[in-house]
C-alpha cells in the first residue's frame, strides 16, 4: 500500500486486487506489483548475474563532446561494455538532458556497443515512446546487425487492438498505451529452450514463435529510427540467465517505483469493474473502467458559483484621481465554488478521496508545484480548465444523501490572452466576426479582428433575434451583415459598451470624501477634499438572467480583466453616464437559463488617454 493512504481521512481504501470486482465510484490504491522492489545491483537475494545497467542518475554516467552531445553511455557494471557514439556527425549524437532522468534518442540518433552477447538473459527496460505523426515500426532495442531480427519494436495506433509490440516478426497486442506513456518491457531470452517472451508492465503479452540467433549477438543498439519523434530511455539492465517470476516482479517494481510514480496511487472506478488483470488501471481495457479525470465521475450541480477579484495595486493621487496597476498578467483571481449535490455515500466517499488526494498529482515543473485538477467548468466558462482544489464542505442531510462544495482556485489564466481568461472565444458560443452568419441572437458576442487597436475586440449584438435556430430545422440561408451594420459600421447592430440593464431593485450608497479637523474636546471642522469628492462605489445585480445574456455580461467583464474602464449609465434618478471599472463580481448558476450576477463598480475619474497600448501578438513556441 502506498504512503498516500495516510494522508486521507477516508478509510477502507485498499490496494487494487485483480481477483476482485469493483463497483462504480470505488477507490483503489494502485501499484504495479504489491511486493518488494529490489535494486538491480543488490546481491542480498542471491542475484549476482547483473551484466549491464544504464540509466541517467548522474552526469558522470555519460561521456559527452564539447557540445554536451552524448558520445558514450557508461555501463554501471564495472568491466562490461559501454554504449558509444563515435561518429562526428552531430545528427546521430543524442543530446544530454541535464534536468531529466532519461535520454531521448530521436531520428537517426543511436548508441551502440559490442560485448553484449548472452544466450540466456532477462532484460528490463523502462521507456516512453513519443507518439510520431506517421505510425511506422520503431526499434526500442536491437541485437545483431540484421535489419529486422533480434529486435524489440512497437507499431500501430495508440489504441487497444492496434498498438503492438514486436519481437522480430511476431506481433503482440500491447496491454497499455505504447506512445506518450511510460512502459516497462521485460524480455526473457532463453536460447536453451529457444523461447523469447515479452512482458509489458508486468503482463505477459506473448512469446515469439521462433528464436533467432541474432539475439545471441554481441552487438547491441538503441535508437536509429529515421524521422521518428523520439524514444525516452529511462533505465535498462539485464541479468545473465532466466530469473524467476518473483525476481522479475522485484525488478519491475523497482522501475515502476523509480520512474512511474505518476501511475501509482489512487484510481477511481467510472463504471463497475469486472474481475481480471486486464482491468488493471494502466491497461487499455482498464482505462475504460478506471480514471483520474473528475469529469468522468461527477457532473456539477446547479448552485455552482464563482467569485472574481482583480489583484490590483491602486495608487490614489488626490482629487479622486487614481491609477490601477495590474500586479501581473494573471490579473483576475477566480475562485469557483463547485457544487455536487444529491450524492450517495459511495459517491461522496469517492469525491472526498479525490479532493484529499489532489496534492499527490505529479509536479508540473520544478518551479510550478503539483499539477492542478483539469475540469470542465460550468456554463459559460471554459472546458478543461486547470484549477486547484482548496477547501471542501461536506454536508450530509439524510442517510445516503450528501452535498459537497469544493472551492477551487484558478491560477494560470492570463489577461494577455485575447481569447479570454474564463469566458473564452471558442468559435462555438463566442465566434470571430464574419459578415455571413447563420443567425443572430440578442446578446450574441463576436470577436472583431482588426489591425486597429481601437476597433479590435469584443462586440455585442443588441438587436432582435434574426433567423434563430429551431430545434427541428436549421437556418435555411445565411444572414449577410452589410458593412454599415458591422461592428464598426456607422449603423452598427453591435456595441462595445456596457448596455446591460441591472435589476429593478438596487441600492446606491455614497460617501462624501471630506477633510476633517478634529479640535479636541470642542468640535470637528469639515472641509471639502478637493474636487471629485462624490465618487461612487456600488453593486449592480443582474438576477435570473438567461444564459445568453449572462454569457454576454460575463464575457464583457472577463474582457475588462478587472481594471479596464468603461462607460456605465446610472439608473433612475441619477441617469448620468460615468466611467467605472469592475474589480469584483460573482456569478451563480441557479438553473438552466437562470443566472445571478452581482458586480461591483467603482467610479473612475481619470480620462482614458492611453499613451501607448500593448499591440503585439505573442505566440508561444514550445
Amino acid at each position: 500500500m502506498s504512503s498516500i493512504i495516510s494522508g486521507l481521512n477516508i478509510k477502507n481504501i485498499y490496494e487494487y486486487d485483480s481477483t476482485l470486482s469493483y463497483n462504480k465510484f470505488d477507490v483503489v490504491d494502485y501499484e504495479l506489483v504489491t511486493g518488494i522492489s529490489v535494486y538491480p545491483s543488490y546481491t542480498g537475494l542471491g542475484n549476482s548475474g547483473l551484466i549491464a545497467w544504464f540509466n541517467n542518475d548522474y552526469l558522470e554516467d555519460f561521456n559527452t563532446d564539447g557540445s554536451f552531445n552524448i558520445t558514450g553511455w557508461k555501463n554501471k557494471v564495472v568491466g562490461s561494455g559501454d554504449l558509444i557514439q563515435l561518429s562526428s556527425d552531430a545528427n546521430v549524437r543524442p543530446d544530454i538532458q541535464f534536468d531529466q532522468n532519461y535520454i531521448t534518442l530521436k531520428d537517426l540518433e543511436f548508441l551502440s556497443g559490442t560485448g553484449f552477447d548472452y544466450t540466456n538473459r532477462t532484460f528490463f527496460l523502462a521507456v516512453d515512446v513519443i507518439e510520431p505523426e506517421k505510425k511506422v515500426e520503431q526499434k526500442i532495442i536491437k541485437f545483431g546487425t540484421d535489419v529486422s531480427l533480434g529486435s524489440l519494436k512497437i507499431n500501430g495506433n495508440n489504441t487497444e487492438s492496434s498498438a503492438s509490440v514486436l519481437l522480430d516478426a511476431d506481433s503482440f497486442y500491447a496491454v497499455s498505451p505504447i506512445y506518450n506513456h511510460k512502459n516497462i518491457f521485460t524480455i526473457i531470452q532463453n536460447s536453451t529452450a529457444s523461447t523469447l517472451t515479452i512482458r509489458q508492465n508486468g503482463f505477459n503479452i506473448g512469446q515469439a514463435a521462433s528464436y533467432d540467433s541474432q539475439w545471441n549477438s554481441n552487438y547491441f543498439e538503441l535508437g536509429n529510427n529515421p524521422k521518428n519523434s523520439g524514444i525516452k530511455y529511462y533505465d535498462l539492465f539485464y541479468f545473465s540467465g532466466i530469473l524467476s517470476e518473483t525476481e522479475i516482479d522485484y525488478y519491475e517494481k523497482y522501475l515502476f517505483e523509480k520512474y512511474f510514480s505518476d501511475y501509482e496511487g489512487l484510481f477511481f472506478a467510472k463504471k463497475n469493474v469486472p474481475v481480471g488483470e486486464a482491468y488493471s488501471p494502466i491497461t487499455y481495457t482498464g482505462k475504460n473502467y478506471w480514471t483520474r479525470d473528475i469529469d468522468d465521475l461527477f457532473k456539477l450541480s446547479y448552485g455552482s458559483s464563482v467569485n472574481f477579484s482583480a489583484k490590483l495595486s491602486p495608487l490614489t493621487m488626490g482629487d479622486g484621481y487614481r491609477t490601477n496597476t495590474a500586479n501581473n498578467v494573471n490579473t483576475l483571481n477566480a475562485t469557483f465554488d463547485l457544487n455536487y449535490d444529491g450524492l450517495t455515500d459511495a459517491q461522496s466517499k469517492c469525491l472526498i478521496a479525490y479532493f484529499e488526494n489532489t496534492p499527490e498529482a505529479p509536479e508540473k515543473s520544478l518551479y510550478e508545484g503539483f499539477k492542478g485538477v483539469d475540469i470542465n467548468l460550468f456554463t459559460p466558462y471554459k472546458l478543461n480548465a486547470e484549477v486547484y482544489f482548496k477547501t471542501i464542505n461536506h454536508n450530509s442531510s439524510y442517510n445516503n444523501l450528501n452535498k459537497i462544495t469544493i472551492s477551487a482556485e484558478s491560477l494560470f489564466d492570463s489577461s494577455l490572452d485575447y481569447k479570454g481568461m474564463f469566458v473564452v472565444l471558442d468559435e462555438k458560443n463566442i465566434k470571430t466576426y464574419n459578415s455571413y452568419v447563420d443567425y443572430l441572437l440578442t446578446n450574441d458576442v463576436f470577436y472583431f479582428n482588426s489591425d486597429s487597436y481601437a476597433e479590435r475586440g469584443y462586440y455585442f449584438y443588441t438587436g432582435a433575434n434574426i433567423n434563430p435556430p429551431s430545434s427541428s430545422t436549421g437556418p435555411s440561408s445565411k444572414i449577410y451583415i452589410a458593412p454599415n451594420n458591422s461592428p464598426t459600421g456607422i449603423n452598427s447592430w453591435f456595441t462595445k459598451d456596457f448596455y446591460f440593464k441591472g435589476d429593478l431593485e438596487y441600492e446606491v450608497n455614497e460617501n462624501i470624501r471630506l477633510l476633517s479637523n478634529d479640535m479636541k474636546n470642542s468640535t470637528i471642522e469639515y472641509s471639502k477634499d478637493g474636487i471629485n469628492y462624490n465618487l461612487l462605489e456600488f453593486n449592480v445585480g443582474f438576477k435570473k438572467r438567461i444564459t445568453q445574456e449572462a454569457r454576454a455580461i460575463l464575457k464583457f467583464l472577463d474582457d475588462k480583466a478587472g481594471f479596464k474602464t468603461f462607460k456605465y449609465t446610472l439608473p433612475q434618478p441619477y441617469n448620468k453616464i460615468i466611467d467605472v471599472y469592475c474589480p469584483e463580481w460573482n456569478h451563480t448558476y441557479n438553473f438552466e437559463n437562470n443566472h445571478d450576477i452581482s458586480v461591483k463598480f467603482i467610479e473612475f475619474k481619470n480620462p482614458f488617454n492611453a499613451i501607448s497600448v500593448f499591440n503585439t501578438n505573442i505566440t508561444l513556441v514550445e
Partner: protein, 264 residues
C-alpha cells in the same frame, strides 16, 4: 380521437400491468418568476427549476401492493406508467394510502412526482379490441375480512375503521445544463395509521404510547393479498360524538422509518 375522452375508454398501466383505477389525475407545474429591470421594463420570466409533474391515482387492490409502491423502501428508481396511450417514464412514487372500512372495497391512493417530457398532446382512447379483452380481476381487497391487530396498542378496543399511509419526500437533483434530474432521493420516510375505535384506554404520555400493529388485507373470500406492519408511537387521541351516533375515539400512530447506513 373524439373531442372528449371518456373514462371507460382510457387505459392506465404501471409498466405493462393494467390497474383498475377509478381516478387518475395528472398535472405539471413550472416554477417561474418575472425579471424586472431598473428602467421598469419586464425582461422575461425566468425558470426557477424544472417542470415538476404530479400524478395521483386511485385503484382497486387486486393483489399484493406492487413493490415499486413500497414508499419506505430503499429503491429510488423511477416507475413507468401509461395513461391514455401516453408513456410517462420518470414517475417517482411519494405516497400510498388506503382506508379500510366495513364491507367497503379497499382503494389504493398513490401519488407520484414526474419529470421529463411527456407527450400529453397524444392522449388517445384505447382500441375496442383492447377494451374488450380486459381481464376481470380474480381478487379485490375488501374491508370485510381485512383487519389489524390491536394487542400491542394499549387500550384499543373494537376497531371501526382505519387508514394506512406511507409517505416520503422526493427531492430532485440536477446536473448543470440539464432539465431532468439525475437522482430523485427519498427523505423523511414515514408510515402512519389512524384508527377509529370505541375506546383507546388511558390518556397518552408526553412521549406518546408505543404501538405496534399488523394490518392484513384480504378479499371477501379471505384470501390474503398483502400485509403491512407499523411499529411506532401513538401520538394523538381524540373523542367525538354526534347526535344519533356512538362515541368514537380516534388515534394516530406514526412510525419514522430509519435506514441504517451500510459501511463502505
Amino acid at each position: 380521437m373524439s373531442n372528449f375522452l371518456s373514462y371507460q375508454n382510457i387505459d392506465f398501466r404501471f409498466g405493462s400491468q393494467n390497474y383498475y383505477a377509478n381516478r387518475v389525475s395528472l398535472s405539471a407545474q413550472a416554477s417561474i418568476n418575472p425579471v424586472l429591470l431598473n428602467d421598469g421594463s419586464l425582461l422575461n420570466y425566468a425558470p426557477e427549476g424544472a417542470v415538476v409533474g404530479s400524478l395521483s391515482t386511485e385503484f382497486y387492490l387486486t393483489g399484493a401492493l406492487p413493490s415499486f409502491l413500497n414508499i419506505t423502501g430503499v429503491d429510488e428508481s423511477a416507475v413507468m406508467a401509461s395513461f391514455a396511450g401516453v408513456a410517462i417514464t420518470g414517475l417517482y412514487p411519494k405516497s400510498v394510502s388506503f382506508s379500510v372500512e366495513p364491507f367497503q372495497p379497499i382503494v389504493i391512493s398513490a401519488e407520484f412526482d414526474w419529470y421529463g417530457n411527456v407527450a400529453l398532446e397524444n392522449f388517445d382512447e384505447q382500441r375496442d379490441s383492447v377494451l374488450s379483452t380486459k381481464l376481470v380481476p380474480d381478487y379485490i381487497a375488501n374491508g370485510y375480512k381485512s383487519y389489524m391487530t390491536t394487542s400491542s396498542i394499549e387500550g384499543a378496543g373494537y376497531i371501526v375503521s382505519f387508514n394506512y399511509s406511507m409517505t416520503c419526500d422526493r427531492p430532485a437533483f440536477f446536473n448543470v445544463d440539464e432539465k431532468y434530474p439525475f437522482r430523485v432521493a427519498k427523505l423523511n420516510k414515514k408510515a402512519d395509521v389512524s384508527i377509529k375505535s370505541n375506546t383507546l384506554g388511558q390518556l397518552l404520555e408526553t412521549s406518546g404510547k408505543y404501538a405496534y400493529t399488523n394490518i392484513t388485507i384480504k378479499d371477501t373470500y379471505s384470501t390474503t393479498l398483502d400485509t403491512f406492519r407499523i411499529s411506532g408511537v401513538l401520538s394523538s387521541q381524540s373523542y367525538e360524538i354526534s347526535e344519533g351516533q356512538y362515541l368514537l375515539a380516534s388515534a394516530d400512530i406514526s412510525q419514522t422509518v430509519p435506514e441504517l447506513k451500510t459501511l463502505i
